[in-house]
Symmetry: C2
Subunit: 250 residues, 2 copies
């Protein structure tokens, strides 16, 4: 029995952004577990079983992976981006804490990946080049009032911001409200970056001032970055560079 | 003249955490520019010139890289971690904005990497599994009062936190004060992770409650993670798992 469980980040989409560490784990795995579109990114091969499941069953998926690991299998749970940022790692540890005592002694490793906000920031320039925060805008797992509170405090702290899961079909109104809260707290000027499907064939990047940002510019494939009060835009032919200087003058 | 400039993240140290995209850029480069220990991580080969420079000359280094790019060279500026997180990308764009107009039209790309906080979080479990912020604790480029304000607001927002550059020989007192501010705002209980030299041969990871955290536990090789009010510790043989659940109950 030498099973292990690796919770691995596949990055934003491009195979050139998958770390060799993750590729090595996939090459040694007996079983891969994850949400359907992420498992679809893993090459099939003999001796590898792919277990794709729908979204919103994260804890079931985690328990399944832990059971297989306990049986001696070499299991990779795949997430897009980084598994520790609004992805499967927390779900697996929730399952460990609530599960049988012996799961605590399993060989569980988290393999980091390029998370969406960093891939998006790289495409735009360096908008997260100074202090910043990352907020999941989905209110599936927390009250909406807490999201609004965090948005207001993030503006007060003058963080640049990255928003994951900004908008879905089942909750179209949240992001509308988030933009209203931001405009009320931060004014109209600061740049907003809508980065969709970064590093994939259908990648798109759009930079607009907050006043022109509309809810329809985001969907679940989009990560949204909002500059701080010091974020700069460098105009040029083609897409501008957006960056937040390292220095803040007193 | 087909010069280009890639600002590339080498990840925290282990070659298995360097993306294939970054390796490909290094394989095509004529010149590599960066801080001495990061340039030392690039393999020498014929046709590649290494330009290592001391710390605190980021803008000089950026200008040098931009000049070489304008001359038609294929230049990689290397950072550890991710270049967009408290690293060289913002410095390059500062130099572009302040430099000659023609620099704006250079072929400049940012190649993301595994940033220290995500490598550290992966080693510990999933402490950044819910909303979080990243703060550079150095007051070289911003007033200390702003750092304290951000710490207080981050506690009020109940973010998990990642601190870069927590402590250096030239400013030993800042981190002492940061721990005081955190204890006053957040109480004594929440877990603090001191992650030093993650993924390197001398890696160390230490998890202590805030009340037992001391300034000497950090140096410039350390990234410090602080849990939110909901962060959990799973005790086990060996190092505990630390994770922040996805769910917050109203």
């Amino acid at each position: 029995m030498s099973g292990w469980l690796a919770i691995a980040g596949l990055g934003p989409g491009d195979a050139a952004l998958v770390t060799p560490e993750v590729s090595a784990a996939l090459a040694e795995a007996t079983d891969v577990v994850g949400y359907i579109p992420y498992v679809a990114r893993v090459a099939e091969r003999e001796g590898l079983r792919l277990h794709a499941s729908d979204n919103r069953v994260e804890v079931d998926r985690a328990q399944h992976a832990l059971r297989m690991c306990a049986e001696g299998k070499r299991v990779v749970v795949v997430s897009s981006g980084d598994p520790g940022v609004f992805a499967m790692a927390a779900a697996v540890f929730e399952a460990v804490e609530d599960g049988p005592e012996e799961w605590r002694d399993l060989d569980i490793r988290v393999l980091p990946g390029i998370t969406a906000m960093l891939a998006a920031a790289a495409k735009a320039g360096a908008p997260l080049g100074h202090d910043f925060c990352a907020i999941n805008l989905s209110d599936n797992l927390k009250p909406w009032a807490l999201i609004e509170k965090r948005l207001r405090l993030a503006v007060e702290a003058d963080f640049a911001m990255a928003f994951y899961n900004p908008r879905s079909k089942s909750r179209p109104e949240g992001f509308t409200r988030a933009l209203e809260v931001l405009r009320a707290a931060a004014g109209d000027a600061r740049p907003v970056i809508f980065a969709r499907a970064v590093s994939r064939a259908d990648e798109s990047l759009r930079v607009v001032p907050l006043t022109y940002a509309t809810p329809e510019m985001a969907d679940m494939q989009t990560v949204v970055l909002v500059g701080s009060s010091t974020t700069r835009i460098i105009d040029r032919d083609g897409a501008p560079f957006v960056y937040t200087p390292r220095k803040v003058v007193a």
